[in-house]
């Protein structure tokens, strides 16, 4: 992906100080999955947001302080849950293996 940096998506143009960013990449056998859907669930398990992954398998959310769950759906794969902690002013990077 254009502008990608090692370890994750480019943060160019984003005011990281004001956002609690959760981002990462979905991989299948080490290869990026560009047709997955990543859902952000809140601490009670309620849906908060969902994004399709980019061609390079990347995704990003602007969450709030606290505990979140990422639920990843992809063709020919069972849903995968990953717990993540977000905090304003930081970037939580998550690699999701399906």
């Amino acid at each position: 992906m254009c502008g990608a940096t090692e370890g994750g998506l480019s943060l160019d143009g984003i005011d990281v100080k004001k956002e609690a960013i959760v981002q990462g990449q979905v991989l299948r056998d080490g290869e990026p999955v560009g047709n997955a859907y990543v859902r952000l669930l809140d601490r009670t398990g309620e849906f908060t947001a969902e994004v399709p992954t980019s061609a390079s398998g990347h995704f990003r959310f602007f969450a709030g302080d606290g505990e979140w769950t990422l639920r990843t759906l992809a063709p020919q794969a069972d849903p995968v849950d990953n717990a993540v902690t977000a905090a304003v002013g930081s970037v939580a990077e998550v690699v999701v293996a399906i």
Binding site: K18, E19, E46, F47
Partner: protein, 282 residues
């Protein structure tokens, strides 16, 4: 209305791809999604340019809607099947919009683009061509669209259903979490509105839950189906999804979508706002 005449399955769409009287239309929040790949034969509507006045905050006029559909080759007697990303948020918004202007036969692809993709069905980048038509729209149906004054007057009187995520309703987030959180409006919700996130009505794959499950969800949340209902969210697209559930699937008599929603209400001077997880007092 019922599920049978307002929803179609992915398999139904696959079986009817070549029917010239069935017009597939993709509407996405990410307006570039269609360009990368869409269901064969589908045309695109861009909700930011095709469906919004480009100066004022409002919809396109009846005449502009007629010109739009005529140029895209949609006829009055066509079956319009809408689908899109974000679990059909913007497709449901377009469905409501088509109903607002009186299109007779309009349906949603159950599960939208996500269900289609998760089924590993084919997408194409090839653009279809449809001959122009002469489309005639009806005057806007004011029985399904709510405005701000009506929403303020509904506090403590009508059902107000806020379909945003719990954190947005409580005021902990200002936008859905795939968008940056710095926003101009105040945080919180309309006092006495109940919070039933749109996502309660959908399965993980984006399809709608069964009618029995849906009745149970809104009943348990305290929605009184003998009262009039106004649904709202942040900009009116997620609440279109819930409007579709309440009006088209469950058949509630009076359900309006407040498209001004929280970006309007949360910017109004002097109106009451409630914070936290409880509805609050009138």
């Amino acid at each position: 209305m019922t599920r049978e005449n307002t929803l179609v399955t992915a398999q139904w769409v696959a079986d009817n791809l070549n029917d010239p009287k069935v017009v597939l239309i993709e509407v996405d929040e990410d307006t570039t999604a269609y360009d990368k790949g869409h269901i064969e034969g589908a045309i695109k509507l861009d909700w930011t340019t095709d469906l919004q006045d480009q100066v004022r905050r409002d919809f396109v006029s009846k005449e502009q809607f007629e010109a739009l559909l005529s140029s895209r080759g949609v006829a009055n007697d066509d079956t319009v099947v809408l689908y899109g990303g974000n679990n059909n948020w913007f497709a449901a918004y377009a469905y409501w919009y088509f109903k607002l202007y009186g299109h007779q036969d309009v349906k949603l692809l159950d599960g939208g683009r996500k269900k289609w993709e998760l089924d590993s069905r084919e997408l194409t980048a090839t653009l279809p061509s449809r001959e122009a038509t002469s489309y005639t729209a009806q005057e806007q149906d004011s029985s399904i669209r709510a405005f701000r004054d009506e929403t303020v007057a509904a506090i403590g009187v009508k059902n107000l259903v806020d379909v945003r995520s719990p954190d947005e309703y409580a005021g902990r987030l200002l936008a859905p979490a795939h968008l940056p959180q710095e926003q101009a409006q105040r945080a919180g919700h309309v006092p006495t509105s109940i919070n039933v996130p749109w996502s309660k009505a959908a399965n993980d794959d984006g399809t709608f839950k069964s009618d029995d499950e849906l009745r149970e969800i809104y009943g348990a949340a305290g929605l009184d189906d003998t009262k009039e209902t106004i649904a709202l969210c942040r900009i009116g697209e997620r609440s279109s999804h819930t409007w579709f559930v309440l009006k088209e699937l469950l058949g509630h008599q009076s359900v309006k979508n407040y498209d001004g929603s929280w970006t309007e209400y949360g910017s109004l001077v002097g109106v009451p706002v409630a914070l936290g997880d409880e509805p609050g007092e009138a």
